[in-house]
């Protein structure tokens, strides 16, 4: 039985990174431990929660169920690569504006999965958003805001002006409700 190391050049967020890692480590472990990209989260570790979702060649996959050793020549994108220069990606900005993250643990996986969806389908319906995010569990169960945020981010990315209605921010159909 071998516990040898693998040396690979990985393409992560547009950069080529030479990495040495134990051969049996997953992409998730190598991203977090060797590359210090801790935005991608350990969740269930068994492919059931989506917290570890990253993009490989533009498609969302679960980094907990991928061996880093299999990733040579693949383009890997993590949440750290999402912002554009000093600007947040519209998905990140909209998630923040709409409070679409509660504890935030599932958010990186959702952002990356949503990015892949919007690259393929710039005008998804609510059902299409829900279907694309079906593999991402949010245990705060804030799904409604997440779907709304992806919908509004898609609108922003299409260059549409507009402000979400007040209830999107306050969860109440009465925008003038007194605030503490």
């Amino acid at each position: 039985m071998s516990d040898d190391l693998t040396t690979l050049r990985l393409r992560v967020n547009g950069e080529t990174r030479a990495v040495v890692f134990p051969t049996h480590h997953t992409l998730l472990e190598v991203l977090r431990e060797e590359l210090a990209l801790t935005g991608t989260k350990h969740g269930c570790e068994l492919g059931e929660c989506g917290a570890c979702a990253v993009l490989v060649d533009g498609r969302p996959v679960l980094s907990c169920l991928a061996l880093a050793a299999e990733m040579e020549g693949r383009e890997i994108e993590t949440v750290e690569g999402l912002q554009i220069g000093n600007e947040l990606h519209p998905l990140q900005a909209t998630f923040a504006d709409l409070n679409a993250a509660q504890c935030g643990y599932c958010t990186p996986g959702i952002l990356m999965t949503a990015k892949a969806l919007l690259a393929e389908n710039p005008r998804p319906s609510g059902d299409e958003i829900r279907e694309a995010l079906a593999g991402n569990l949010c245990r705060c169960t804030g799904y409604h805001k997440i779907v709304e945020a992806v919908d509004w981010a898609a609108a922003r990315m299409r260059g549409e002006e507009g402000t979400p209605p007040a209830e999107v921010f306050y969860g109440s159909p009465v925008p003038d409700a007194p605030r503490v």
Binding site: M1, S2, D3, D4, T6, P22, T23, H24, H25, T26, E45, L46, G47, E48, G50, A53, R59, P60, V61, L62, C64, L65, A66, L67, A69, E70, T113, E131, A132, A134, G135, N136, L137
Partner: protein, 333 residues
């Protein structure tokens, strides 16, 4: 995960040799979505992983080819997302594309392969918790005495009580699909149905794969006018395994069934062909009453365990609805 040797052969033959060199101690790595989860749980502890992702040129196994005469040749590394996205598959065999597109979740479908789906290991919680595929202690099955709510209702005379996990397999078997297996002695093509076997002793596998043998290709003939329908019962719409499925394929002649295939999934240790339902349907015109009777016959021999009597009803409903879907009657009701 425990450490292992990682091999990335360039040819199919090298892959077979690497597997055959350490029989029982090497595992095939395709998409990894089942294997790596099993390894993390310590259910399997291979000393060597032979990845099929590095195969080169003509040896690659991710392809989907179609000819009108012969139908489909689908490489074992073709992903479920590939199947769901294939226009030609959706036209010729819509139920196959739809079934693939409904499995697991989107991220899993991007990596999970056809070969891996057909060769995935059972979801039995005794197996997944390290009690072995047959989960026997001192000659008695833990399943029979324990929590068997998800276990077999058919083909459960022992010693196997788990259920076959693949949702694709029953559909493909109903369509008379074949698989190509490559081993140290060369290639053989068998009906997909024959890939599955009942393990009789701990250590035996539920697939008819010899030492070093790998599944390389799925062959699926043209639809040829068959009426095909499926029904799947599960608790959640996504990220869930089926509780019971049924797939039917009917060759019709003058409005009557000339030949029927009725295959159930998740009810027995292997994809379960109901000869009773098939022979009943032959020569019949399908209406609601015939669908009811065939469904009744399909579960007639069921022997539910202490906690899974409900599955008899699920299986019965699945067969009935698959038949109605195949014949379009579900749209008229």
């Amino acid at each position: 995960m425990r450490p292992f040797d990682y091999a990335r052969p360039a040819t199919r033959e090298q892959a077979v040799q690497l597997l055959a060199a350490t029989p029982g101690r090497a595992a095939v790595l395709a998409g990894g979505s089942d294997l790596l989860a099993l390894m993390k749980d310590g259910v399997v502890t291979p000393e060597r992983l032979v990845s099929l992702q590095g195969l080169q040129g003509d040896h690659t196994l991710r392809f989907l080819r179609y000819t009108a005469a012969a139908g489909f040749r689908i490489g074992a590394l073709t992903t479920l997302a590939d199947l769901a996205a294939s226009e030609v598959l959706r036209l010729e065999h819509p139920v196959v594309a739809e079934t693939a597109g409904r499995l697991a979740g989107p991220q899993i479908r991007n990596v999970a392969t056809v070969g891996g789906n057909l060769c995935q290991r059972p979801r039995c919680w005794y197996f997944r918790s390290g009690f072995g595929l047959l989960a026997a202690r001192e000659g008695a099955s833990l399943v029979v005495a324990g929590d068997n709510r998800h276990h077999a209702i058919l083909g459960n005379d022992g010693p196997a009580y788990f259920v076959t996990p693949s949702t694709l397999a029953p559909v493909l078997i109903a369509l008379d699909a074949e698989v190509v297996l490559l081993g140290p002695q060369g290639e053989r093509t068998i009906p997909l149905e024959k890939l599955y076997r009942l393990p009789l002793a701990e250590g035996e596998r539920e697939h008819d794969l010899g030492p070093g043998e790998i599944l390389t290709e799925l062959q699926l003939g043209p639809a040829a006018g068959r009426q095909v329908g499926t029904w799947e019962v599960r608790q959640r719409e996504t990220l869930d395994w089926s509780l019971a499925t049924a797939a039917v394929a009917l060759e019709m002649e003058d409005g009557r069934v000339k030949r029927a295939r009725v295959v159930l999934g998740q009810v027995a240790p292997l994809p379960w062909t109901s000869r009773e339902a098939e022979s009943f349907l032959t020569g019949k015109t399908i209406d609601e009453a015939a669908a009811d009777e065939a469904a009744k016959l399909a579960v007639q021999g069921a022997k539910p365990l202490s906690k899974n009597r409900y599955k008899v009803q699920l299986a019965r409903v699945a067969v009935r609805r698959a038949l109605l879907a195949a014949t379009g009657l579900d749209r008229e009701l």
